[in-house]
Amino acid sequence: MDDKKGTSSQKVTVYIDDIAYQVNKENNLLAGVLSQKLNLPYFCWHPSMGSVGACRQCAVTQYQDENDTRGRLVMACMTPVSDGMRITLQDKSSAKFREQVIGAMMTNHPHDCPVCAEGGECHLQDMTVMTGHNSRDYQGTKRTFNNQYLGELVGHEMNRCITCYRCSRFYNDYAGGKDFGVYGSKNQVYFGRQKDGTLESEFSGNLVEVCPTGVFTNKLFSAHYTRKWDLQSAPSVCAHCSVGCNTSIGERYGSVRRVMNRYSYDLNGYFLCDRGRYGIGFVNGEQRIKKAKGISQASPEKLTRLDVSKSLAHFRGKRFMGIGSARASLEANFYLKQMVGEENFSAGYNGQQMAVAKAHQQLLNNYFTKDRMLSLREVEQCDFILLIGEDLTKTSPRFALALRQACRNSGIEKAASMGVASWQDSAVRTISGKRNSPFFALHPTATKLDELTEQHLLLEPDDIEKVMLALTNLLGSDVNEKNNEKYEKQLKNYNTEQQLFINKIISELVKAKKPLIVTGDSLLSAKILSATNKLMACLENNPDQKKVNLVVLASASNSIGLLSLIDEKSLSSEQVLAKLSDNTMDGVICLEQELATFTDKELTLLRDNSETIIVLDHSESRVSAIADIVLPAAAVSESNGHFVNYQGRIQRFSQVHAPILPILDSWKWLSYIEKSLEFSTTSQSILRKNKTKIIETLDQLHHHFTENFTSWPVIGNVLLDQNPVARMTPRASGRTSQAANFSVHETKVVQDKDQHYRFSMEGSKPNTVKDMPFTWAPGWNSNQSINHHQVEIQGQLSNYHEDLYLAFQFSNFNHKVEQTSDDTLAGDSPADKKFNYFPQGSLFQGEWQSALTAEFDLLKYSLEKNPTLYLSTEFSESQGWSQGQWLKVTADNMNCIAQLKCDARLPKNLVYGDIYDFINNKSGITVKLSEATEPEVIQQQESRINGYQLAKENQKNILERLKISDQHIPIRFVAGGLDDA
């Protein structure tokens, strides 16, 4: 929508209660008033969704001129700002009307506050107090509704609804959802699904934040509930994809309770995806590693540094390789690499992934040494999109949401040309109709964004590459009479559909003012990335083409951080295994790596050929199961560190609470390992020489790196200039009594050595810094309080300072690409029913950490939907197969069952589906299809029902355990290392 940094847009004078204010001309009056930090109540308006004028809450009196004393009532959200306009917030008639609106809403609103999850951060509560309504005139009964089961994530309590329409406007209009809507009329308007069932949108969790009352609540939060004012929070970054949405994580009594959106002007704005919001559940899961393995402890109660150094001393002199991880912090990865030495460092990528990494680096080198990749905010302004090889709605969902908004730009422009402001949401959507900005996509599977495309093709990665090369060649060729023949000839190799696709892109691309090409690594295809490189190079050479923006997305939260550490000496996983088997090296240190690409055979090889495997991780995996030493690493909510997002933006995640020992930040473990193992690399000797102090805090670590390594980006600490910010609200309760079952004495405040934030309610207010632990303002207890911390509504944060970016300077190197089995996909042989199967993206199982969340596991066995396989209609008919039929899908030694669905868009060889067993075969796998027998189908259904019940049990057990652990709050004195209590 509008780009409102606040300073560059035109301002006009608006008189509010006779005081002149400078207000952004493009705003509606409500946004203008709120931008001045004045209090005007509202419900249905939302900064990202514009105005509809439904609730009538924001009424103000507008005067014609200074002499007009009567004025007339207008709805601020529907009124444009004009120079010299005069309004009042304080006159009796509009104040009375605003109070009456609340009174009307209260006629049906239940007296649920004490039992409602929203209480204490409820927008309705805040607005009620703001209007001064405090006594009930209505004498009648209240209308009630039935509630629906909407899935494991979002709760439903319709009695509380005030019919502001925000939920359906978000779910349907903004996020493109299809299975939710408005029903009924008069005072019985109902928001829900046509029938009970899990909400299908990847953004359903935002209903919780968008709803001003407690109709939609966070079920995970409600199950193990605490009031907002009792939560201890810290600003964090989502750990589940490379967009790097800003979050605010809240905990109480030592367990993580929930994730809220943390407003970011450039990235996530006001919304998160469900993976980011609910994926934090893994922190409380049964699979957490809470004790060290392989370290003999002097005292069973406590693991000390001495224990660690003694145990590790056994391995002194051994030659270790380090395997870093795209989900570990930048600090931990960098530290590991320096420790083991650059020739012994691996990213945990196999040869195929290394080729992808190299191609990615090439793109960054070529186009992003001076420029920066577009932020999500900037993506929403684009007017042409070419999406290659990414199912964004599942891999980087928040990015997909931004693309949805970008598609609206041609419609918004048309409305603007008719004099309709972009915030007049209904009118703009009416005028836009079905008009979308030109959007083209290439991917092996169907995706949710397909409906927005002008044209999209379902093709395998190799064929995608071919189409891209054709496009590049044709773009590069002279478009004049003589070469039309050549043009035609080149196109002849492609079918009509593909020809149309290429031609359309060429004609639309040249018209675009801000075109965007999006690609990523989710198909593990280096070919697609190099083809993108060639395409970009060609477009750069065309003087008539406006600058084409490129975005390359990665799969994990710190993929780019890890990428910056990969150089010509880095080892692929094949090379790691080779070095172990030929005895060049003795063991590996695995940093937060689950080695998903390793087959069982490779894992056995790893185990057999390694003398020692040291694993640092927060959750059990196949690797931790075979390790000699397992050190419990802290999860994102329990540690401090930095992730680098797809743009190269370095963002800090902060510790929410000090976890129970011996869980420690990975980099802290690495510093103990470094001390004990005494590596003999050159970097090591530098490290040892210059190190005098023990590294206890992140700042010290940064200082250490900066002093000794030029490749470390200088991450300054703005926060050190200020007083530490309180993590708790001033109203946090129970502080003096929470350990009363142990001791009558109040526990001391946990010392945070990092000095950015305090584990206390004492400290600076959250709004004194850019990275706020939680959001609050006087009179605004809900998430709407963010209005007070922005320069302008929907603008930049008040305390914003520029984020730091990684400099992209990769050396060009040739990495020996080891061929993997994935490259040998099936040829042209549907006759023996061999196909290339590509897994659809999965929101809940696609990322290893979040997939461990109990609720996500439950969704895996969801009985609402069967595993599905999509096959071309033509081939299905030729086999006499019909939709809904059960097929057997065989690959390697695996047999799976899936239900058939026909997709007419599919070429001969290509199939796709959501079969869980193949979820990691991102670059495709050859499968054979046959009909499934009835006993096989029954067995599969039974095993799913079993799996579901087990997952349900697991969920219940976790909840019980958490509630019990509330009684035994871990007491830490210092949030420090092993020897700090």
């Binding site: 009538r56 408005v182 008069k186 005072n187 009118a427 009416t430 109709g433």
Partner: protein, 454 residues
């Protein structure tokens, strides 16, 4: 030429409406012919503006002015992105205002008149597609309209190149699925699009962004039916039909306990007294006039002292009410005014679309209070509540005019029949012997579709 002083209704035949050829031999389609053959769209627009025709749907907006806001593209270059592919003329045949049945009379009685009218209207605004948004319950009208349209297509009065001109116009009948709010033009447009029938905010006006975002004009059936006659006889003739300030004739109606309820086409500005006593025969035996709503349920009460007011827009407005649709709803002296207002408010509460807070929550609140008063459980404070609600749901405070309309009978009843309300409260009962209107005592039920919570 015999002077026709009842142009709208003189060809009405409810038993068997005129076929196309019969309609033509009675002078039909001459107006449309004149428009498309002899006038330019601008000339027709000027003619209609001169005639001072005002909307008959209840708002009384000058038709010429409404049409003049439609963007016209003289070149009609189809490749120009600004020229819309479609422009629409919609006939609002969703007659649901209580006490109103004039459009039904015209639709069932002389459907070709509307078809001809729409041809003229579409020609003027260069619309190429038209819809008659017809109230679903009017089955007979639907059938007869479709028959008329089919005949018109056959005789090249609809479709491509009408009567050999360059003007093409397609006309469809769309039967509504119900709801009073569809009578609101923007809600009607939403309903036509297949969406929920919530009204739209204006601006932008339908002439700029209407049906499917394209330029659209919505006119009432009776308004449109005047067009063939205006084209045939001219603006001066139309104005001369009425000695009054407003031009043309109007179909007035009367219902309630009068001797002969019905409808009559009379010159604009006929007095209430003439309609009620001359045409409707006065009150039924034994009953006296207590009050009346002049233009349908959503207008303010008038009293016997207002009987000599001319039924035109300005005069009725001056005495504190609205002409609306011109259908009188008569209150006799043996009917409880409180019960009547309760009945009306129940209708409005049921018909509220639920979009904006004052109407959605205010109308049922008024019903709750009035129900208690009617049942004798009212309190003194309730009158204050009712006054507050009238204030709360007034013009400018709601998203559309339904709630202000709902509040008009209520606030005028509080003005004129306050003693009735007070008596109900003081005596703890309704003093009228109810027969037919509200018989049983009403137990306030939970709304349909919901359930009590365990």
């Amino acid at each position: 030429m015999t002077e026709i002083i009842r142009p709208l209704t003189h060809l009405v035949n409810l038993k068997s409406p005129l076929s196309l050829s019969d309609y033509i031999s009675e002078g039909g389609y001459q107006g449309a012919s004149k428009a498309i053959h002899e006038f330019s769209p601008k000339q027709v627009l000027d003619l209609v503006s001169d005639s001072e025709l005002k909307g008959r749907g209840g708002a009384g907006f000058p038709t010429g002015m409404k049409w003049s806001c439609v963007p016209m593209f003289p070149d009609n270059d189809e490749t120009d992105d600004d020229v819309p592919e479609f422009k629409y003329l919609v006939a609002n045949a969703d007659e649901m205002e209580p006490g109103t049945f004039k459009d039904r009379y015209l639709l069932e009685g002389v459907p070709h008149q509307l078809v001809e009218a729409m041809i003229i209207g579409a020609y003027t605004i260069a619309a190429n597609r038209g819809y008659i948004f017809l109230r679903g319950e009017y089955h007979l009208a639907a059938k007869r309209l479709q028959q008329a349209i089919d005949e018109a297509y056959q005789q090249n009065w609809l479709g491509n190149n009408i009567q050999g001109t360059k003007f093409s116009f397609d006309l469809y009948v769309h039967t509504s699925a119900g709801r009073y709010i569809c009578g609101e033009e923007t809600a009607l447009i939403n309903a036509l699009e297949g969406r929920r029938a919530n009204p739209r905010a204006k601006p932008p006006f339908p002439q700029m962004s209407g049906l499917f975002g394209k330029p659209t004009v919505v006119n009432n059936v009776e308004t449109l039916c005047n067009l063939p006659h205006i084209l045939k006889h001219g603006a001066g003739w139309f104005k001369a039909l009425s000695p009054d300030s407003d031009a043309g004739t109007k179909i007035y109606a009367a219902c309630g306990r009068v001797k002969s309820p019905g409808l009559w086409e009379l010159p604009m500005g006929t007095t209430i007294r003439e309609i009620l006593y001359q045409h409707a025969g006065g009150m039924a035996d034994g009953l006296k006039l207590r009050g009346l709503l002049p233009g349908g349920a959503s207008t303010d009460f008038l009293l016997p002292e207002h009987l000599d007011t001319p039924m035109d827009f300005a005069s009725i407005s001056k005495v504190g009410s609205r002409l609306g649709t011109g259908g009188l709803i008569v209150l006799d002296d043996q009917n409880c005014p409180v019960a009547m207002v309760l009945n009306l408010l129940k209708f409005f509460a049921q018909e509220s679309c639920g979009f904006c807070t004052p109407c959605r929550d205010g109308t049922p609140w008024a019903v709750e209070v009035l129900t208690r008063i009617e049942n004798g459980k009212g309190r003194k404070e309730d009158l204050d509540t009712l006054h507050n609600l009238c204030d709360f749901m007034w013009l400018g405070k709601t998203h559309c005019a339904l709630a202000p309309g709902a509040v008009e009978p209520l606030k005028s009843a509080l003005r004129y029949f306050i003693d009735e309300f007070e008596q109900h409260i003081d005596n703890g009962c309704c003093s009228y012997q109810q027969q037919g209107i509200t018989q049983q005592t009403h137990v306030v039920q939970p709304s349909h579709g919901g359930q009590f919570h365990g």
